[in-house]
Symmetry: C2
Subunit: 306 residues, 2 copies
Amino acid sequence: MKDIKIFSPATVANVSCGFDVLGFCLDTVGDEMLIRKTENKGIFITKIEGYDLPLKTEDNVAGVSALALYEDAKPNCGFEIEIYKKIKPGSGIGSSSASASGAVYAINELLGKPYNKTQLTRFAMKGEALASGSEHADNIAPALFGGFTLVKSTTPLDILQLPTPSELYATIIHPQIEVKTSEARAILPNHIPLKDAITQWSNVGSLVHALHINDYELLGKTLNDVIVEPYRSQLIPSFDAVKKAAISIGALGCGISGSGPSIFALSKGQKMATRVENTIHDVYSKTGIDFYTFTCKINTEGIKVI
Amino acid sequence: MKDIKIFSPATVANVSCGFDVLGFCLDTVGDEMLIRKTENKGIFITKIEGYDLPLKTEDNVAGVSALALYEDAKPNCGFEIEIYKKIKPGSGIGSSSASASGAVYAINELLGKPYNKTQLTRFAMKGEALASGSEHADNIAPALFGGFTLVKSTTPLDILQLPTPSELYATIIHPQIEVKTSEARAILPNHIPLKDAITQWSNVGSLVHALHINDYELLGKTLNDVIVEPYRSQLIPSFDAVKKAAISIGALGCGISGSGPSIFALSKGQKMATRVENTIHDVYSKTGIDFYTFTCKINTEGIKVI
């Protein structure tokens, strides 16, 4: 195999209660990447369509991730990367993570799969560090593993693949405003009330249980963030109105996707997810802020060869 | 049915990472209680053997719990309670909880089971409040439901029953010192570092996952408490030495049982659990503090009619 074309999906990190550890993978929406073996050694970004991003390998999230793998594998060839960027950078649905994990996934395939998914996550985290300043895995893991993932720990890196209820659909609204990950991090307190932390870890445990027993109602009750959302929701206009409307109409839960500004809702069944999408579309139409919405199934495969 | 005799088990709350929400039920060690219907209306504690505890209904944990149920059910009879107390009060393995949950379980049986286990938990929490000053359910839930439980929330009360790996054994060491629950609560900070809370909720989620997929190794890695143990372990002489020895010999994990002073370890298989017991027995023999140890399977049934 000399070249490979992949679909690298958007992802939702945090999932309300699981700040920095939980994530799930979206279907339909994602970047496309074409990676080609070359005789010239090195990693070369040869084309980026969709958004204006740096072509220099060391300045590009996909480039840095690919380099991390490349320097470890030391193959007797190089790689050219073409990126067809569909996920807007800074949207909060894992744009940098899609580039980072897509690059390492594709090169691993072309090299005959010398690395497992956890090792690929480690390489892609180098790209995330370039994008956000910290090596987090909560978007990388669902992109590479698919479905719901839990980052048990980053040192050593330990990713758990959680089950995904089959009728679960996500609705996303992306208000076209900028929320910098660094700003969204800076707004958080260093210390939190113990009683709130207890609520949060009880919800994380309950969410994992709900996924295992396929209990949609319980899942909905666990999608509650008493720690991060009260701060970060201030950065997203009409967040409360969107959340209230989504839940009133029948969404299981609704929260901030990653560090925002995108908002996600989870619903049982496509019909309900579409109703939720229509409802939050109506709510946001009144804000005067540009936005788009979409609804999709949870993607249990992660990155796909196309 | 006019009378019933039950075994009400000891329990381990918190389970390292799950402060205030996780618990599991022990086998073999527990109180026995005989509850008898009477024509005289009211709740009467007629006998307590084993430890010196108040006979007055309103001052007794079992009495208060029974009264809470009794006042709700308003039956056309009364109940006499005999308590054969085997679990030492203040040991940290759910002594008050065994009395509280045993009383409500038995009376519910004699009344033809008008209440479900969650409702019984609510009544028994009144007894816990008498014992510790707060209506917590992390010992009550495993006593009534058996196995591992997660208190999703107390308002409204929502108890989740988690799966129990079949080869899981607990080892308990009870140093005969007094650690008051109130003191063990007071030593905790009101605020905790966000980064520690993240570690904790990732462990809670991972522990629930480990129970579902029967992964003993992962379970061991989740038995880690970065929040409460650093404070409370100061109240238990040689805690660190016991923990280190238990894990070195092969225990999956080791931590404080409830608010202490008892220490629990979990092991895969009875043979390993017994080796762990012998090891920590040796460690504690050097302290000059009286103690006892025991090893048992996880009790997946909870309270049993005998």
